[in-house]
C-alpha cells in the first residue's frame, strides 16, 4: 500500500508486497512531505487536484473518479471550515486495488454525528449532505469523532 503520507508509507507489513509503482507515484512513497495540510480554500483545491491526478494515474475515470474527488472535497472543506486546520492523506493500495482517503483533525468533534448520518440534520452552512454523501459514495466509510478530534477514512475500490 502506497500512502501519500509519511505515517502510513512505512507500514512494514505491506512493504514486501509492493509491486512496481507508476513513476509519478514513486515520488510520494515514504515521503514525509506528502501529508496534505488543510487550512485554506487553496488547500481544498489543491487536495482535489492531487487526488484527481492520482485517480488519472491508475486509470480511475468518470464516475469512479468523481466519487473519490468529491469525497476529498467534502472532507477537506469540513476540516477547513469547522476546525480551521487538519490534514489529509491519500493512499493507493495496488494489491487490494483500492484508493484510501484519510482526513484527520484535532477539532471539537461532531457531537450530533448520528443525527447527521441519519439524514435528519439541517445545516446552516451548507446542504448537510457532505458526510452522509461521502458515506454513500465510498465502498468503505469509517468515522471516529470525539472531543479530541475527528478521523475519517474512506475507501474506494478500483479496477474490475
Amino acid at each position: 500500500m502506497f500512502w501519500l503520507g509519511a505515517e502510513f508509507g512505512k507500514a512494514p507489513r505491506l512493504a514486501s508486497l509492493q509491486p512496481a509503482l507508476p513513476p509519478a507515484m514513486a515520488a510520494y512513497e515514504d515521503d514525509e512531505d506528502s501529508v496534505f495540510p488543510i487550512e485554506s480554500d487553496a488547500d481544498i483545491s489543491h487536495a482535489r487536484t492531487v487526488i484527481r491526478q492520482m485517480c488519472g494515474l491508475v486509470g480511475v475515470r468518470g464516475y469512479d473518479a468523481q466519487k473519490v474527488v468529491t469525497t476529498v472535497s467534502e472532507l477537506a472543506r469540513n476540516i477547513a471550515r469547522y476546525v480551521g486546520k487538519g490534514e489529509m492523506r491519500f493512499a493507493l493500495d495496488t494489491v487490494e486495488q483500492r484508493i484510501v482517503i484519510v482526513a484527520k483533525d484535532e477539532g471539537p468533534g461532531i457531537p450530533n454525528l448520528d443525527e447527521i448520518l441519519a439524514g435528519n440534520y439541517k445545516s446552516r452552512t451548507g446542504l448537510g449532505r457532505g458526510l452522509i454523501g461521502c458515506r454513500k459514495l465510498a465502498d468503505h466509510f469509517d468515522i471516529q469523532t470525539s472531543a479530541r478530534g475527528t478521523h475519517v477514512r474512506a475507501e474506494f475500490r478500483y479496477g474490475k
Binding site: D41, A42, I44, S45, R48, T49, R52, G62, Y63, A65, Q66, K67, V69, T70, S73, E74, R77, G119, G126, L127, R129, G130, I132, G133, C134, K136, L137
Partner: protein, 138 residues
Amino acid sequence: MSMGESVTCIPLWDCLLVPLHGDVSDVHADALVTEVLERIQRDECFGVLVDLSGVWTLDSYLCSVLARLAQAARLMGAKTVLSGMRPEIAMTLEAMGIELRGIETVATLEDALSSMGITRTRESNKSSGLERLGEREG
C-alpha cells in the same frame, strides 16, 4: 480556477451566460454569486445560464451556492438554468442524495436558451434536418 481569477459572465440576448470551468474553489463560488447578481441588475437580465460543461467536480457546497444564486436571482426577476452537467457528476450528486431542488437543469446550453424562450432562426447552410424552430417556448 486559480487565485484571483475573476468570474466570466457573457451577455447573450437578455441573459447572462456563466461558463464554469476546472476546479471551482469556494472563494470563486462565492464571488460568482456576487458578480452574477450585480450583472443581473446592471445588464437587466431575465435569465442566468450556468454552463457546467467545463467543471471538474460539483460537491455539496457548490450545489448549495448554485441553489443560493438561483434563489436570489429569482427575487431579482431572473430565472436560472443549469446546463452541461456531465453524467458522472449527475450520478455522484444522485448517490449523495443532493437534489438541486428549485433549479432547472437541462442537458445542453441550447436547451437552456430554449427554456428561456430563445430558439434559433436560421437558414441551414449545412446538412439539412438540423433545424430546431420554436421548440419548447419558455
